[in-house]
Symmetry: C2
Subunit: 344 residues, 2 copies
Amino acid sequence: MIHGGDVLTYKHLYDGEIMDFSSNINPLGYPACLKEAIFSGLDEITRYPDIKYRRLRKNIGEYLGCSPDEVIVGNGAVEIIDGIVSMFNRVVVVVPCFMEYILRPGVLGKEVVKVGLNEDFSINEVALLDVVREGDLILLGNPNNPTGKRIDKDILIRIQKCAEERGAFLLLDEAFYEFCPLDYDSIELFSGSKNVCIIRAATKFFGLPGIRLGYAYADKSIVKSFDQRALPWSINAFADAASNCIFKDKDFIEKSKKYIDEQRRYVTSELKKIKTIRIFETSTNFMLIKLLKGNEDDIFEFMIKRGIMIRKASSFYGLDKSYVRIAIKDGERNKYLVECFKEY
Amino acid sequence: MIHGGDVLTYKHLYDGEIMDFSSNINPLGYPACLKEAIFSGLDEITRYPDIKYRRLRKNIGEYLGCSPDEVIVGNGAVEIIDGIVSMFNRVVVVVPCFMEYILRPGVLGKEVVKVGLNEDFSINEVALLDVVREGDLILLGNPNNPTGKRIDKDILIRIQKCAEERGAFLLLDEAFYEFCPLDYDSIELFSGSKNVCIIRAATKFFGLPGIRLGYAYADKSIVKSFDQRALPWSINAFADAASNCIFKDKDFIEKSKKYIDEQRRYVTSELKKIKTIRIFETSTNFMLIKLLKGNEDDIFEFMIKRGIMIRKASSFYGLDKSYVRIAIKDGERNKYLVECFKEY
């Protein structure tokens, strides 16, 4: 199990609908305006998508606070990761991290340098910067997956500066950005920097993993290089149409942020009371948990029998079978999850 | 202009809706059942698509007449081309051909060997087989784009045999297959061969370029290799949902084939009468035309002023400015196109 969300594979183990705590999607679903956008997309699917994605880039640029020609678009965030990785020879990652940071370079025949995180899963700045050299790509999740940790602002600035000095490039995967308390906006922070690309996505926060829409901020020159290598028409007409409305739905955005914040506090405070697990404070809508008794297989089986699918975490490089990851979902389900944890 | 369909770029040149004769989509649109499938897709976009695409492969397998584990799926046919090309070091193509057959190997750092077609754009079997050697990928459009020519069955069988003997691989791009008169089904022909992959797509015949759904038949071992390199979740939830209905719509399929056949005959016979152009007989829903007077720029400008966008063909390797490509569309538009050609 490299990725969460694969409910189908475990369907036979529970008589009823399985609650998917293994993938980290907004529990409030998608913005209500989407349905209409999809109907308008129906008129557009008989044509090829605009090969230059002009409207899409404009909508995203307005949302991110950058110009359309500073926008990279992709068939999900993972296509952007892949495209950027393909431009470099060596990739520096911290572990544990999203497995695609290691898998994609592998597929593309790139060398991967893995740097361990601190014991509390914060970044080990010294160890990281120690290995960075000219031409490297530093690829960091912010917040990181599966740990849920945002990178400290000052540390991030120092990493970017150091990368710049050494002729390295910094790729930040911020697919979970909107779930985090507003500390800093890295696009604002690094606006104008030529050695940074910052990925965001509709997948998680806008509740649309099925629509496949990833996007990123980068300097125009990087956007151009990316586009020269990209497959034509990689974004479907529905994702293109959705961009006309989802980013403007301030209500949905505010409501979701507030809701996740409340639920994160609730789940954190409740799970903290349980003595047989150790939780790691998270900035986002998922949480890494260390089991002090038993292992991921025991608890996975225990939970699936109760209609809950959690994420075993040993498939993340650097974690053993004593870790699992859960998502923060809606109040009722979170309550049920907490109860099951207590029972376990 | 590497690809057709970019109406947006020329929008300002005509006061009204431009008829797009530059891209080759079914003029009857998409199967009526699609709308309902899209609505059901709306329920599915809040989940990740099945990472293994079990339902999708089953639906496609039934349509193609092969088993689900012999099905490759991709974000459009072009993603499958890219994935297969990435497995080989050298790619043999015939020219002119779809430009992505040359561009994608270029992006991936592969050597491309270009073999010229005969004067009537049929395959030069001797010249082609002369260059093929162990480990090569032979990549052929069938029918070829922009020429509209199907490969003769006996020649195709000999190419596949020769490839097999020399340890080369044959990739057939049959994105326009359903538009062609039923001569042979290459999937049936090469069923069981380990050195063949045959691409089909929902893009053209099912009128769905915006939905991004390409698929292919290949031996299980090839499917497995492909999947190991493929990006996760590359097909969106709507394309997945659409597969539940479009392939079963026999009425749409039969009607479209009959309609295109009629319209192809009509356009062919009418354009044949014009002395200043030479047409090349086509098996499919587009046609290559040689201008005996003037060049592609003149006629493009002439046509766009009349609200028609045709495809300049000099961007196809091996063609000069004396060629254009047109699509076969619905009766009324085809009539208008013929009139404009006569006027020109």
